[in-house]
Amino acid sequence: MTRSERPDPKAILEAARAEAVLWRLALERPDQHVRGDLEAWLARRSAHRRAWREVAALWALLDEATTTSELIRMRQLRC
C-alpha cells in the first residue's frame, strides 16, 4: 500500500465520530436494544473508542452547560 492509498487517520476519526453520534441517538430510543452491537462496534477499532469517548465527553459538557447564562440566553432567543 502506498502512502497515498493509506487511510487518512483524520478521515477515519471524523467518520467514527459521525457513527458514534448515530450510536448515541440509537441508544436514546428505548425500543432499540443496541448495547451489544455498540460494544462490538467499540471493540472493532481504537478510532471508534476514541470517537465514542469524545462524543460522550461533549454530551457531558453540554449537560453541564444547561444552567449557564449563555445557554439560557440562546434558548430565550429561540423562543
Binding site: 465520530r17 453520534v21 460494544e39 459538557l61 444547561t66 434558548r75
Partner: protein, 176 residues
C-alpha cells in the same frame, strides 16, 4: 396539557407525567449507561419526586423534569460509589469506555471550564436553524420526529442537522 407556558409542577398528575415523560426519561437514563431495570427505577423515583414537589410554577416543566432526573441519577451514582458496589464506575471498568458520562475521567478533567466555554462559543457560531434544532433535541429533550414536524422537515434531515452540529462542536473543543 400544554407545556408552552408556566406550569404548577404540583398540579401534574401521575397520568400526565407517565404519558408525557416515561418514554423520554427511559431514553435519558438508558443513554447514560443505566440498564433497563435501573432506568425503570430512576424513572419511578423521578415521578415520585415530582409528585411530592411543593407547589411551584416553572417556566419550562420539561427542563425541570430532566433536572430532577439528573439530580436523582447523580445521587444514585454517589450512593453506589460510597457502597463500593459492583457496577460502580471505575477507571478500570470497561463500562467507562462505553458509558463514561458520570465518571471523572482524565478527558473530562482536561476539558474543564475551558471546554465548556469553547463548546458554548461553538453553539453560538452554529447557523440559527442548526442551533435551534440542536437545542430542542439536546436541552429540551424533544424527539426528532417532533422537531421534524415543527420545522416541516423529515426526521432524517433533523438527524443530519444534529450530526452536523455535533461534528462542529467536537471540532471546536478538540480540533483534530
Amino acid at each position: 396539557m400544554s407545556f408552552a407556558h408556566s406550569v404548577n409542577v404540583g398540579d401534574l398528575s401521575p397520568e400526565t407525567l407517565d404519558a408525557r415523560f416515561r418514554r423520554r426519561l427511559m431514553s435519558y437514563f438508558l443513554a447514560r449507561g443505566q440498564d433497563r431495570a435501573a432506568a425503570e427505577d430512576l424513572t419511578q423515583k423521578t415521578f415520585l419526586r415530582l409528585l411530592h414537589t411543593e407547589r411551584s410554577y416553572v417556566e419550562n416543566p420539561t427542563a425541570f423534569v430532566f433536572r430532577v432526573a439528573a439530580s436523582l441519577m447523580r445521587d444514585d451514582r454517589a450512593t453506589s460509589l460510597a457502597r463500593g458496589e459492583a457496577g460502580a464506575v471505575s477507571l478500570d471498568d470497561a463500562n467507562v469506555i462505553v458509558f463514561p458520562q458520570d465518571a471523572v475521567t482524565p478527558e473530562r478533567e482536561l476539558l474543564g471550564r475551558d471546554g465548556l466555554r469553547r463548546v458554548l462559543m461553538g453553539l453560538e457560531d452554529l447557523d440559527v436553524r442548526t442551533r435551534d434544532i440542536f437545542i430542542l433535541f439536546k436541552f429540551d429533550h424533544m424527539r426528532q420526529s417532533e422537531i421534524a414536524e415543527r420545522f416541516g422537515m423529515t426526521t432524517a434531515a433533523v438527524q443530519k442537522q444534529i450530526l452536523r452540529a455535533t461534528a462542529l462542536l467536537l471540532a471546536r473543543h478538540d480540533p483534530l
